[in-house]
């Protein structure tokens, strides 16, 4: 046990990375957790709603409380957390090139690397989209829930997936007005329970509707929306002008793959999970020996699934480094998969389940 003294390096201290590091440390493996931000937690601290799932997924607990719990666990375990540390390269042989506080550069020889670098929100190009006042839904969410400032008074949300709808609700809670939530598709994307609580607060939803342009001189003053036909082409004569000072874009996320590509991970294209992502197997191993991918990096889902994927990689990495026996590894992996599977069921989960199954089927070829 513990023959290799090189640490596991986890990149990204969001829900997936924290859980991976916690599993490793619990098994007694040396682990270094790096994050470019000044605070750990990734995007968990802007999630102020109660999470779904069951008790074992911390259902009913608000996202930021789960974040606090994970941080407390990592503190108690004494995990080496390096903040303000950007990983800018992964060299062959798993040399992790890090830059601390934009001033000190060093390379850490890693026994394995777990990439938990998350995702970025997609943009949406329309005339006026660069105007001040147009921002991603996550940006507005960070402003109201983390920094506690309102970016504007009256908001249009473009995109009705869970992100758009939840941010709409949280903008209402923060004291803003939401003029409308629009959706290009003929049906709303988010959970009905989320849309229902926003609708009963008086926020209208418009399906089959797109944004034509944002208008204003030095910032958003109006948004012009219109109905679209089945080919998503705007229908002339259906334009409507909304007086808003903020437009939130909630049209999906794309895995952050910079480091995975630098490490040489083979990609796979899975549109349901955000586009290109590294191919991986059921232990979250990428195509590169010793490199794992977890959370949104391995396909955009939710914080709850990201945490379980982080655990999977942490458990297997602890085994690979010699800190966990095979039987224990298999047992913990199976339990974690049980929890993951239960999150990928139902009308919303099935698509993600099938997409993940496709990745794993391809990923197995390597393993």
């Amino acid at each position: 046990m513990g023959v290799d003294s090189k640490p596991a390096v986890v990149v990204g201290a969001g829900p997936a990375g924290l859980c991976a590091a916690i599993e490793l440390k619990r098994a007694g493996a040396p682990v270094v957790l790096m994050d470019e931000n000044g605070k750990p937690g990734g995007q968990l601290f802007k999630q102020i709603h109660k999470f779904f799932g069951s008790r074992e997924h911390s259902a009913g607990t608000r996202g930021f409380e789960i974040g606090r719990r994970l941080l407390a666990d990592s503190l108690e375990l004494g995990i080496d957390v390096r903040l303000d540390t950007e990983v800018v390269g992964i060299e062959p042989g798993l040399g992790v090139w890090a830059v601390e506080r934009r001033s000190r550069s060093y390379t850490l020889e890693a026994g394995c690397v777990i990439l938990a670098t998350g995702a970025s929100e997609n943009g949406l190009a329309f005339p006026g989209w660069t105007l001040p006042g147009v921002m991603t839904a996550g940006c507005a969410q960070t402003l109201v829930n983390v920094h506690r400032v309102l970016p504007g008074r009256r908001v249009l949300i473009v995109g009705s997936g869970n992100v758009g709808v939840i941010v709409g609700y949280q903008l209402l809670q923060a004291g803003a007005e939401v003029a409308a939530i629009i959706e290009g598709a003929p049906a709303l994307g988010g959970y009905g329970v989320h849309t229902a609580k926003v609708r009963r607060a008086g926020v209208p939803f418009y399906c089959g509707t797109t944004i034509l342009r944002a208008e204003g001189e030095e910032g958003v003053e109006r948004a012009v929306i219109a109905k679209v036909d089945r080919g998503f082409k705007p229908i002339a004569g259906t334009e409507e002008t909304l007086e808003v000072d903020t437009i939130c874009i909630a049209v999906g996320l794309t895995p952050a793959l910079d480091l995975a590509y630098l490490a040489g991970c083979k990609p796979i294209f899975v549109p349901e999970l955000g586009g290109n992502m590294p191919l991986h197997d059921g232990y979250m191993r990428s195509s590169v020996e010793g490199v794992y991918v977890v959370g949104d990096t391995a396909g955009v889902e939710e914080a709850s699934t990201a945490m379980e994927e982080g655990r999977l990689a942490g458990i297997h990495a602890a085994y690979a480094l010699g800190f966990l026996g095979e039987a224990a590894m298999r047992e913990r992996t199976e339990a974690t998969w049980g929890r993951l599977d239960s999150l990928r069921q139902g009308v919303f989960g099935q698509k993600r389940f099938a997409a993940k199954a496709r990745i794993l089927a391809e990923g197995k070829v390597r393993a």
Binding site: G123, P132, G133, C139, R148, V149, L150, P151
Partner: protein, 118 residues
């Protein structure tokens, strides 16, 4: 902020889920010479939004920009901070006496030696 369009930004006093704001020491930063009250620990972006600042910079073609992703990915929110252009204001915490300037295009380096690194 005389003569400037206000963005309608403001601080959230009490919140149904987050409760009352944590007490934070107030620091002063300067936007193009004008004093702005900021809270220790917050990024430059949120201090400017709270002060109702509607434009963070202009592109070389004169098009206004503010913030877009808010988490350090997109560089929409960059400004010149203590003489260094292109600083991401959404992930750079405020500091007492910080000099924040709107830049045009890529901006230019100001001053000589002795800047704080960031």
């Amino acid at each position: 902020m005389s003569g400037e369009a206000s963005s309608g930004g403001r601080r959230i006093a009490s919140h149904p889920i987050l409760g009352e704001p944590e007490a934070a020491r107030e620091v002063t930063i300067y936007l193009d010479g004008a004093a702005i009250a900021a809270k220790e620990g917050e990024p430059i972006m949120s201090a400017l939004v709270a002060a109702g600042v509607g434009v963070f910079r202009h592109t070389k073609r004169g098009s206004p920009r503010r913030m877009f992703c808010g988490i350090g990915r997109c560089t929409d929110c960059v400004m010149t901070v203590d003489g260094i252009p292109g600083v991401r204001t959404c992930v750079t915490p405020v500091r007492e006496g910080m000099l924040v300037e709107r830049q045009e295009g890529a901006g230019s380096w100001k001053g000589g030696e002795g800047h704080g690194r960031r």
